[in-house]
Structures are given as structure tokens and as C-alpha cells.
Symmetry: C2
DNA sequence: ATACATTTAAAGCCTTGGCTACATTTCTGT
DNA sequence: ACAGAAATGTAGCCAAGGCTTTAAATGTAT
């Protein structure tokens, strides 16, 4: 009836699939950024601290770290802190920069800073490169 | 060490928990909106059409509809179309309006329309009421 | 009206990302 | 040095949201 079952995806279904893919990356990104934060602040990232800051229990944090390791983004030895690989650190830095840009843009269009910080946490993972660049241009223009 | 294990959550951990909660609603919102779209366009929403537009297989769509029914957002009889309850229709309408606002705002700050449409699909679920209101004010101001 | 095509349903599998409960290891203080 | 506390690991449970495969119901066309 709608003419595409299993056949070529529509633009719309592609958007949903894209959104789902972004979501799959989101947690990895959050954990990588958190680990990076902790290393900067305290020299190492302990499972307990990661869990506490992410608002999850430590087994959950352990699982997430296992996934990061599987993806080649982190390394760790039993009963020791977690560290990022070069790739992981790079991801964390990109995520951090994007987060700042998103918060800044929200504030620039009139969102209260606290709310901006809150919403950015979920929002940021769905901001594409193109949109990010647009945000940066907008902020640059507004800064002048 | 970081002083809050299981104790009161930090502002940061609360943000993450909030983002996770928003994510849990996201799929429900997407399906509700899609069902609403289909009903408007074709008078009813068939499982096959929902699946095709969402870019998933029909068993997956069936499961999603089951959740909607469980949450009191939709109703359906075996081998018949899916319909929204008042609550479901209201949710769909809110989601649709928010989607439009988000796309408009993205375009207003310089994001190409096609990209705006793409990113909004994931973004919208994390835009709080407060942020949405700010977007609307911004768009109003820019319209003048 | 009956055979064939399409649609829906049902069952069962997988991964993710939460959780609790329990075991083990490391750290710390006396 | 050793006991108790704290941190980490491991196992197993759950729900969500994908999937494929198989079965049943519905719709359609000769």
C-alpha cells in the first residue's frame, strides 16, 4: 500500500534509523567524556567515581567500560583505574567541544543556562557535524 | 572518595538520569506521532505502514504498539488498524508541534532545512518545556 | 468459492543498559 | 600484620527494542 516494504527506505525511515544509530553512540560518548573529565580532575578514573557521576550503579559502569574497551576506546586492568586510548581521548575531546557549543547556542537563543546544561546532555548526541558548524557560525556572528 | 555513593545525587548525575528518562519516552512519542500522521493521511494506521515508515520490521512495530496500548496511548483490535486514545492523540499533537518548532529554530540559526529535519528527529525528544518556550520566543522575535 | 497474496500475529533470539546480590581484591588504620 | 572497610568484579535478572521464522487471518481476483 505504501509501496516500500523491505524495498528502498524512504527519507523519513532513514531519519529514524539515523536517530537510532546516534542513540547507540550516545552512551559511549557520555562515558568517554566522563572518564576524560575524571582523569583531568583526579589523575585517574575509578569505576566508583564514574558510576557515581553518571548516576548508575558500579556494575552498570563496569559494563559500559567493558564496551568502551571492546570498541578500542579505553583500557584498564582489574582493580585499577580506567584510561582512554588515543582514539577514546579524541572522542572525548570532540564530545566536550560539541557539548560546549550546544550549551552556548541554547543560551544564545534565550534558554536559561541551567536548563541549557540539562537539555544539552540529551540533545548533543543528535547534533550532526553540519548542524554543529552552523551553530558555530551563528555564535561567531552573534559574538561580534 | 568522591563522597556520594548512593547518597544524594549530584546535579550532574541528575542530568544524566533525566536524559535517560527522556530517551525512554522517545520511541513512544515517535510511534504516537507516526500513527497520528497515518490516520490523518489515510484514515487509519496499519501495522505494515507504521513499520515501513519507521524503518523497522512489522514485528517490531507490533511490539511498539503493544507498549503504546499498555501505556493507554493507543487501542487496536486484532487484524485491524491502530488508533490513538485521547491521551495518545494529545501526545502526538504536542510532539508534532515541538518537532516543527525545533526544525524552525534550527533553520533560523542557519542549519540547512534537510539537515534540520534529520537532526530534529533525534533532538526533539530532549527539548524541555522551558527550552521549547525559549525557542518560540526567539522565533517570534526573529519573525518581526 | 476457492486459491493465492498480503497482512498480522506469535514465538523465540540477540544486545544494550539498567538493577541486586554475592565474591573477591585492595586499601587503611591500629 | 591483620581486621574491617571500601572498591571492584561476577553472575544473573529484567525490560526495551531490534531481528527472523513460522502460523494464522484477512482480502482479492478469477
Amino acid at each position: 500500500m505504501t509501496a516500500d516494504d523491505g524495498a528502498q527506505p524512504t527519507a523519513q525511515s532513514e531519519r529514524f534509523q539515523q536517530a537510532r544509530a546516534a542513540q547507540a553512540m550516545a552512551i559511549l560518548e557520555d562515558y568517554a567524556e566522563m572518564i576524560s573529565d575524571l582523569i583531568q580532575e583526579m589523575g585517574e578514573a575509578r569505576i566508583t567515581d564514574i558510576a557515581s557521576r553518571m548516576g548508575v550503579t558500579h556494575p552498570t559502569a563496569t559494563k559500559a567500560v567493558a564496551r568502551l574497551k571492546r570498541e578500542g576506546l579505553a583500557v584498564s586492568r582489574p582493580y585499577r583505574g580506567v584510561f582512554l586510548t588515543d582514539e577514546g581521548a579524541e572522542l572525548a575531546e570532540r564530545v566536550r567541544a560539541r557539548h560546549r557549543t550546544v550549551v552556548d547556542l541554547l543560551v544564545a537563543v534565550g534558554v536559561p543556562p541551567e536548563t541549557a546544561e540539562m537539555d544539552a546532555e540529551g540533545l548533543e548526541h543528535h547534533v550532526s557535524e553540519i548542524t554543529l558548524k552552523a551553530f558555530e557560525r551563528y555564535l561567531d556572528a552573534a559574538a561580534k
